[in-house]
Symmetry: C2
Subunit: 438 residues, 2 copies
């Protein structure tokens, strides 16, 4: 168990652990800015990211979409660079510069060849630390975000997950879409966006992470220079988001009658929170129920009956809540049959899984995790996100041990808690006012 960053003296460095291929180190700079790196000396690339502890669930109704809107605006220019200069710098070295906004955090990152790390640190830091958020840039980006909303609306396999969050959590911060709505985007002002930036993008609420062929001290030096003049005071790093009162779960059924070729279904319930010890057992359960081609849902719906091309189950974790969901896309005329199989399989799994499924589910989680960590971007994300949202970083070997320790009883217990809980349902398709009551 590593000390949380807020117990670490500003200006000091600690080695968190050495784990398989990589060594993880953390420095806390003045102002509370954390720099965490994982050195993987056998690769030739470096991934660099800055994580902000703010996302769509921090938004009031009138600000819906502000975190994501701001993410866009940060690409539009700084005191030192125009939008073109930001993108041209990274394009010129063939790097990948991007960002994403989630419900509880926002991340800006670049993946580059190791020799180009100084450039990546300078550009991404500049965007996050010195954004101008000019009124004309906020205006130009409004149209872009409206088009992003329309693109989401044109893809029912994407739209349905936003609809499902509303069905499960209702019109609450966790239920509302990350993109905001046409109405909220049309009314958000430059002052609100800029205020949001000034309030949330402070060093103590940010985490800098780098992984790949990087040297910790070099990264700290580059970050210190890029943030020069902005890292003052002895504010400790902000603690992870409180997991006090859990988000209210109010499952409903949402049906969107739409002229699509397929009916798209998500059926699900509240899962477990990010720090919940049951998350490893739920991972195994998810693998057995709908996590791969050998899973029950894939076998019953696609392999045996040919009713769907895409069918799977999934989980999502937040500070105080989570989602367990099942997705299927099928012929509109088969929606009752497919939904009935989904409900049956979920109900059957309340009694747990077989020995063979337990072994296979553990192997699947283990292999997927280890294979995923060969990518420097995944490594950067693991340490950066963990530093932001957990009290401490669990070494990969500890995660593997936790997966290995899951028993049939653990799976049965979490299945009873999650799968037998009240269900929300969302259907998008040409289904009129069809009644989907179970």
């Amino acid at each position: 168990m590593t000390l949380p960053a807020r117990a670490q003296e500003p200006g000091t460095t600690t080695t968190i652990h050495t784990d398989g291929a990589g060594t993880v180190r953390r420095t806390v700079l003045h102002g509370g800015l954390r720099v965490i790196t994982e050195t993987l000396p056998t690769v030739r690339s470096a991934a660099f990211g800055i994580w902000a502890a703010v996302g769509s669930r921090d938004e009031a109704v009138a600000d819906a979409g502000a975190s994501h809107y701001l993410e866009h605006v940060l690409f539009k220019g700084t005191e030192r660079r125009s939008a073109l200069e930001i993108s041209a710098a990274v394009d010129a070295v063939g790097g990948d510069l991007n960002a994403f906004t989630a419900k509880e955090y926002t991340c800006y990152y670049a993946r580059v060849l190791d020799a180009d790390l100084p450039l990546a640190v300078d550009v991404v830091s500049d965007m996050v630390a010195a954004s101008l958020n000019r009124p004309e840039d906020v205006e130009a980006e409004r149209g872009v975000i409206l088009e992003e909303i329309h693109m989401r609306d044109d893809d029912p396999g994407d739209l349905i997950h936003d609809e499902f969050a509303l069905a499960l959590y209702g019109d609450t911060p966790l239920g509302r879409p990350i993109l905001g709505t046409e109405e909220s985007i049309n009314t958000l002002s430059r002052d609100r966006i800029h205020g949001y930036y000034r309030e949330h993008y402070v060093p103590s609420e940010l985490v800098v992470s780098a992984a790949g062929n990087v040297d910790h001290d070099e990264v700290v030096g580059l970050v210190s220079r890029a943030w020069a003049g902005r890292l003052t005071g002895d504010a400790p790093p902000a603690p992870p988001r409180l997991d006090g009162a859990p988000a209210p779960v109010t499952p409903t059924t949402r049906v969107l009658d739409k002229d699509t070729e397929q009916a798209h279904i998500v059926l699900g319930s509240a899962g477990v929170a990010r720090t919940d010890d049951r998350r490893f057992a739920l991972g195994v359960l998810n693998a057995a129920l709908g996590g791969g081609m050998s899973s029950r849902l894939f076998q019953e719906i696609r392999e045996k009956r040919g009713l769907a091309y895409s069918v799977y189950s999934y989980t999502a974790q937040y500070a105080d809540s989570g989602i367990f969901g099942v997705y299927a896309g099928c012929q509109p005329g088969k929606v009752d049959e497919v939904l009935s199989i989904c409900r049956d399989e979920v109900a059957k799994a309340v009694d747990g899984i077989t020995d063979e499924e337990l072994v296979r589910g553990k192997g699947q989680l283990r292999g997927t995790m280890v294979l995923g960590l060969e990518d420097t971007g995944s490594r950067m994300s693991r340490i950066g996100k963990s530093e932001l949202v957990y009290e401490s970083l669990l070494p990969v070997n500890d995660v593997l041990a936790r997966i290995d320790a899951v028993t049939l009883d653990d799976v049965r217990a979490v299945a009873r808690d999650v799968l037998a809980a009240p269900q929300a349902l969302t259907v998008i398709g040409p289904v009129g006012d069809h009644d989907f009551a179970a």
Copy 2:
């Protein structure tokens, strides 16, 4: 320049080159089966694939979609394994087992931890060499493929690329969609599918490739055992697809009036063939015109005017032809404005690009290529696909040298050839009978 595989004696191995991190070796087995590997000793994973020299452009009208249909059926069971046993074997080790069908080839692959390579070789080889193609499996998969077609139809950003191929090549093998049509899928019989399999899945038309922490001789041994009894005779490996008479290009305008939120546009022309020396210059031109955030199209349409979220240009290569296309998704009411900017930018680029864009475009191609090759799956794809479709494998350093050698004159020459050629146009959206004539 390496000797083509068909000049190599069956049962012999040749070292093709040692290139940066990896050494590439090829063995030709009896029956003409090629095994090509790239050893990357610093990784812990292995990617294994089998490539078949058949795709949708080999299909008669009545067989449209047969290559892709067969790809699905190969997951349904062999003499030794049921569909569940195929998927469970790879799920149990957390591997990624999948396949894809293109216009000119089909690939089956697994990515696993290095210790699980023997399993991957055995399962993928079994699927490809010993598929049963039972009538009941062909029937069950028919529904799955129809749902895949419906899913594509529900995603206009995906559908538009199939529509564009029809607009450029017409109702020809290269113009028709890889998935086939509802009509062709409904009429394809088990006998046709099985005949297609027996005709095309012969050792001399297949390439086996592996990359990662693999030993060439071990891979050859594993493949020889997995294919035991099927590798006989002295048939040489098949040569690459002939690039004789180029595919006919008959550009038209296709407008699909559809009730979507956005209008989706692809504007383009015939590009260059896979072996065309101009491909490197076209890559640089594509980068400058629409390849990244600093590109002309991104700057003009998204950055300055906020008219689109997604806007980019792209290229595709075939044995005897290619595509250069520009995509944008925008408000239906802005489609004329966006299309007009696309046409202007394409027309302007006929005169070439700037020095700065040349340098940046080269950097972008170089960096993207080198960063992409850190993934064992990409390495496996590069050598497997190259062995199938080129006379010889170009080492990474040679590709980088070819990119580096591109001049402003080269870019101007290919721009004149490609961008000034007759254009095809596809629009999907609520546009009624709007006239899109230039």
